[in-house]
């Protein structure tokens, strides 16, 4: 009886889909011969396809509900945590990952290395935004502005004063942190949607300034010939440069992970999470709301600024088109898809969202479709992200 019911439901869904896609998939008007072509075969494909998909869909939903009853969820959440706690597995795993990373530019082509560099830049951006969104719960839709600041800082300082990459890197971080405070201060009292709108505006302001202030930023034509990071005065080949930048970004990512991991399990990190959970209770526990928010904004922005400097050095050319709202949204997707607050989650989210489109270039037209489906599916089946954030577990002798 239940099976019949399921089939009936799927049949209804199938009919509905056939009806919806009928005008675009079946009817084709040949405007030269003034005839209508009926592609009935398409209808069959859509019918069979949607029937199976809807069956699969319902099966998955059922399975998820069953899983919820058995509290299977709890075990899954602990999987990565368990690995990271078990030193016998974790240390060899890290060594393996390290060796692979060191060999990566030598095994794979320069193309692969370049893609990996941009993926790692996004890892850094994701980790930075993770502080603001994932830990402190402040929805920031203008995060790319800090990225742009870092990139422009390096490009301009280098052009006018010949400042080297290594000086620009910390400067970029500091400038972004400063702007994080500048943005954070007026929005201290805002939360949720209101904060999102203001940060969105901030992101656009920075982009529009960079687009229109021709005298300084060279407008839409951008800044070219940004030098790659210097390597002890030796001129590197194109291939060697990308390998070099690859190592730099790897070190920076490790540095980011290290620092964010420490912040997460500290007094500051706890204050951020408390702020996210309940602002009023948080203040009543003696936490200075303003200061806590500002540190989150500033520390989050720092990584974007540094990532921006690396980005400028890697592409050797920047223009405002690289810093649109779309980038902010991708970074936010990385954090949400990967798992809010979870470092491992954000890293895998960044790799998935940046590498997959690169390798699926052939299907570039369907990119948005795939993107949307992944996000929707995830919201249904893993609402807390791919790798859920697990808070530290404390042990006491009884």
């Amino acid at each position: 009886m239940i099976v019949m019911d399921e089939i009936k439901k799927s049949c209804v869904a199938t009919l509905w889909f056939i009806f919806l896609t009928f005008p675009i998939a079946v009817i084709k008007i040949d405007s030269i011969n003034n005839t209508v072509k009926w592609r009935w075969l398409n209808m069959v494909y859509i019918g069979v396809g949607s029937f199976f998909l809807s069956m699969l869909w319902r099966y998955m939903i059922k399975k998820k509900e069953m899983g919820g009853q058995k509290e299977k969820k709890k075990k899954e959440a602990g999987f990565f945590y368990k690995i990271s706690q078990n030193r016998k597995i974790f240390i060899p795993l890290c060594v393996l990952l390290g060796v692979f990373t060191i060999l990566f530019p030598h095994i794979f082509s320069m193309y692969q290395t370049t893609i990996m560099i941009s993926a790692l830049i996004y890892v850094m951006l994701g980790l930075g935004l993770n502080i603001v969104v994932g830990l402190a719960g402040l929805l920031d839709l203008g995060y790319v502005a800090f990225f742009a600041l870092g990139a422009y800082l390096y490009a301009l300082l280098n052009m006018h004063y010949g400042v080297s990459f290594w000086v620009a890197l910390p400067l970029g971080g500091m400038l972004a942190a400063l702007f994080g405070l500048v943005l954070g201060y007026p929005v201290l009292k805002l939360r949720g949607d209101y904060l999102a709108i203001v940060t969105l505006g901030f992101g656009e302001i920075i982009r529009i300034i960079s687009q229109n202030w021709d005298a300084v930023t060279f407008g839409p034509s951008g800044i070219a010939n940004i030098p790659p990071p210097p390597f002890f005065g030796v001129k590197l080949s194109l291939q060697a440069t990308s390998t070099y930048i690859f190592y730099i970004i790897v070190v920076l990512v490790i540095f980011t992970i290290f620092i964010i991991n420490r912040l997460k399990d500290s007094r500051i990190g706890r204050a951020w999470v408390a702020l996210k959970d309940d602002e009023i209770a948080c203040q009543s526990m003696g936490i200075d709301k303003g200061k806590t928010k500002l540190t989150a904004f500033a520390l989050g922005a720092t990584w974007a600024g540094m990532a921006g400097v690396v980005f400028a050095a890697k592409t050797t050319f920047i223009n405002p088109a690289s810093f649109t709202i779309w980038e902010s949204i991708i970074i936010l997707c990385i954090v949400v898809l990967g798992g809010m607050g979870s470092i491992a989650g954000v890293i895998s989210g960044a790799l998935l969202l940046i590498l997959l489109p690169e390798y699926l270039r052939a299907f570039a037209q369907y990119r948005m479709l795939a993107f949307a489906s992944v996000l929707i599916l995830m919201m249904i089946f893993r609402p807390n992200g791919m790798i859920e954030n697990v808070r530290k577990i404390y042990k006491f002798k009884q």
């Binding site: 620092i259 420490r262 912040l263 500290s266 007094r267 500051i268 990190g269 706890r270 204050a271 999470v273 408390a274 996210k276 959970d277 309940d278 009023i280 209770a281 948080c282 203040q283 009543s284 526990m285 003696g286 936490i287 200075d288 709301k289 540190t295 520390l299 808070r391 530290k392 577990i393 404390y394 006491f396 009884q398």
Partner: protein, 268 residues
Amino acid sequence: MKPILEVKNLTMNFGGLKAIDNLDLFIDKGEIVALIGPNGAGKTTFFNCITGIYKPTDGDVNITRPDKEHNGKTQRINGLNPYIVTRKGLARTFQNIRLFSSMSVLENVMIGCHPVTKTGVLGAILRGKSTRAEEKFIAEKSYSILKKIGLEMYVNELAVNLPYGAQRRLEIARAMATDPFLLLLDEPAAGMNPKETQRLHDLILKIRDEEGISILLIEHDMKLVMSLSERIYVVDYGKKIGEGLPEDIRNNPVVIKAYLGEEVEINA
């Protein structure tokens, strides 16, 4: 000896509404005082005014911290930010439970240790000796508070997964971690069964006797209020309509009227 909390002529207006109207109140060191009144009388608003969530329209809220460092010095605290009020030693719980839902029970209490610790961003990143010592101190202090309150078996449980009564007690534990001299409890027994209420009764007495923390509580459970408190204030429509010992309040006609309504003679 001066009272540790002294409220004079406190008034809070919301537009045309006088939520609190010229309220006076004081608490001496080591007292358990109750604030009662019908629903909507302004009790929670009073708490919010004292703890800085609202800025009172008029009046004074003065504290005299009983510890040795601040002995005898009276400070005016109305209009200060909530976090500063907490740091001065007034901790509170909430009528509608406001625990940090994504954190464990222990971490909830650890947050309470925020005002008595001081690791900054740099300290957290470097995680030097003093930071590690402080983290250990926070964790151990929180655990010992949980033990006192009787919640140690839930240490790593998520706060939201606790039974209702335990959540209420966790709020008290969290407030105690801030090292207060006065604990403001907003309907701590709401939603508890008689057994849990009895346990809460013992707990509040224990906090006062062993920790020396004075207590101001808002409560609707009259049995608890009468057996626990040493003095009672009654408010209605933001005005104080009675104060005194539990026996006096029980027999006060004005209070009975506020709670039960007036006797009307029906002329048939």
